[in-house]
Symmetry: C2
Subunit: 329 residues, 2 copies
DNA sequence: AATCGGTATGTAATCGATTACACATATATG
DNA sequence: CATATATGTGTAATCGATTACATACCGATT
């Protein structure tokens, strides 16, 4: 590989001059500049970012830890991150935990050892080990999607969004509303959305049957089974069901259709996420739009603030949501 | 930041000994090892990958150039890449062109300057400038999705897949088959799939009306309009339409439904990509499964072969496909 | 007793850039 | 004319690791 020294030699200058030219730092004469440019052209020289980083401590890389590659939620978030960060010359270094919680800590260290300038974590849980590790990280860090104490975060109005959705169902005349959730170890999706559901039901003095509350995992299949449970085990069948993700809602939709019921006449259905899928199923799904793309952008701006040590917002960044009212309710 | 020198000093050894311990190269006494381990524990020392790479020329990073972040196709491909590469200790550095062709060359250089050990390009086009740049890259390189001369590639059976789909439509009794394609600057999706369509029609001596062939861009909206054109402008309405992506097919589906026609009775419809969406629309979409996840894995294996200089397959890797026969045909 | 191989460690060069500092020359200012 | 000031360039230290080489000690072998 051709180095700055080699370029310098060929252009008959010192490496310092080449560096000055490259970085527009300090004076370089017209003639020297031309000779250097010519050599660079001929040799295809590209400076080693690695050597540069070693000296300057700037890598222009942000580490991103994701629970899963290829889910629509993360895709959108990464997209938002990239939009903002690429404009500032940053690149993203991916780390995929595949929902393996232990790996988050491992990756935190790995990314730090790579001298990334900041780390964005899309979290599905908030355990103490992880929190401790984050505290001693000592580089700009942002978490998206979960509320972590004393940590710059971008979070969603999980509870009030869920609550508003239930309110909407009730407003539409439903009094028997079922709920398909996920494990509460995912505080945001599992706990807070459930909290919203319970709060809304309580506020309207509506009783909840045990079997109306189902806990599923994050896939369509699981939504199907949860709905099946609700239908088969309930004493009183609900007339509406709220699932904490669109995938679960679509699984539920499949079961409802199979059971020969009409949506929304016999059973209303709502999800969360405003996934693309939700727009194209029949009937189209009423859902909550959390604007994950926007969350990525906010996280990017936040990490940039932390890196540049200015305009650092205090407190969490709480993103708003929108109810997407479609045909399933 | 704490460095190897600092660790060495505190453990009362030289940095060479610390390095030897860390890398299991050379001899280190039990006592020295324990002291070093203790210091590392206390200080939370993590070696700088940057300094390491500068010396060893190994970064354990693979650059990935994508046309678009967050499309299902790329997501799956990246997922496949990551699965294989993460197992070998590699991480992915993302570069997103946002369909801006000029950026591909820019990123090629950028990634090289970052000393990535290899580059995977998910290509949408194959222009000469790009090809020239790839030739002089001189680091392991793999292209996915487009056939580039003299370049290690992972490609799909675009033409025969399209042809087989048309054959299938014909077999189902259709003789008037329309086509929704994209610009031929995307050789794989735009040219080869069209070629398959034309070949199949020709083989069965079926005439094609001009307006049956529409060119769209990659979104649902565009599929809708293409279908509208077909319906409004054709002298003879087709009874089946093949769209080169599922999104386009779903756009077409929307129009067909709006027009009050039944699928597949009045109009059969097929797409490409086996997107998740295709499974959940009504009716479910007949499509072609190219197994993008698998493509990512193959690309990863190929780049690993190139890096390790062994088991290098000669010729392209051509991936098989499967017809997914659903209710829309 | 001399020699050899295994064990253990340290010194210093190296990777490819940046940058503080010194120095030289040219031009402008009072 | 002396002195500032701007321009242009090179030398060498530095970032934090790896590693070739030198050195030293030890027990075993001849």
């Amino acid at each position: 590989m051709i180095t700055i020294k080699e370029v310098a030699k060929r252009a008959n200058v010192s490496s310092a001059t080449v560096s000055r030219m490259l970085n527009d730092s300090g004076y370089v004469s017209e003639e020297a500049r031309d000779r250097i440019l010519k050599v660079i052209e001929e040799t295809g020289y590209v400076p080693s970012e690695n050597a540069k980083s070693l000296r300057t401590k700037k890598t222009k890389v942000i580490g991103v830890i994701l629970p899963k590659l290829g889910s629509e939620t993360t895709s959108r978030m990464v997209n938002g991150l990239d939009r903002v960060l690429a404009a500032e010359g940053y690149q993203l270094l991916l780390a995929n935990t595949n929902l393996n919680a232990g790996k988050e800590i491992e990756f935190l260290k790995l990314l730090k050892s790579r001298d990334v300038e900041g780390i964005v974590l899309s979290a599905t849980n908030t355990n103490d080990l992880l929190l401790a590790e984050i505290q001693k990280l000592n580089i700009p860090f942002v978490v998206v999607g979960q509320d972590m104490p004393d940590t710059p975060s971008v979070v969603f109005k999980e509870t009030s969004a869920a609550q508003e959705m239930i309110d909407y169902l009730i407003e539409k005349g439903h009094v028997k509303v079922a709920f398909i959730g996920v494990s509460e170890s995912d505080r945001a999706v599992g706990m807070l959305r459930k909290k919203g559901y319970l709060a809304a039901m309580k506020e309207h003095d509506l009783p909840i049957e045990d079997h109306w509350i189902q806990t599923a995992v994050f896939d369509v299949e699981s939504g199907y089974h949860a709905m099946k449970n609700i239908m088969e085990k309930s004493d009183q069948r609900p007339t509406a069901v709220f699932a904490v993700t669109d995938r679960l809602a679509i699984g539920a939709m499949n079961y409802i259709k199979e059971a020969g019921l009409r949506i929304p006449e016999d059973m209303a259905l709502a999800g969360v996420g405003a996934s693309e899928l939700s727009q194209y199923v029949t009937p189209s799904l009423t859902t909550i739009d959390f604007q994950y793309n926007n969350a990525g952008q906010e996280a990017a701006n936040l990490i940039l603030s932390l890196i540049n040590q200015k305009n650092i917002p205090k407190g969490k960044i709480v993103l708003d949501y929108g109810l997407v009212k479609k045909d399933s309710v």
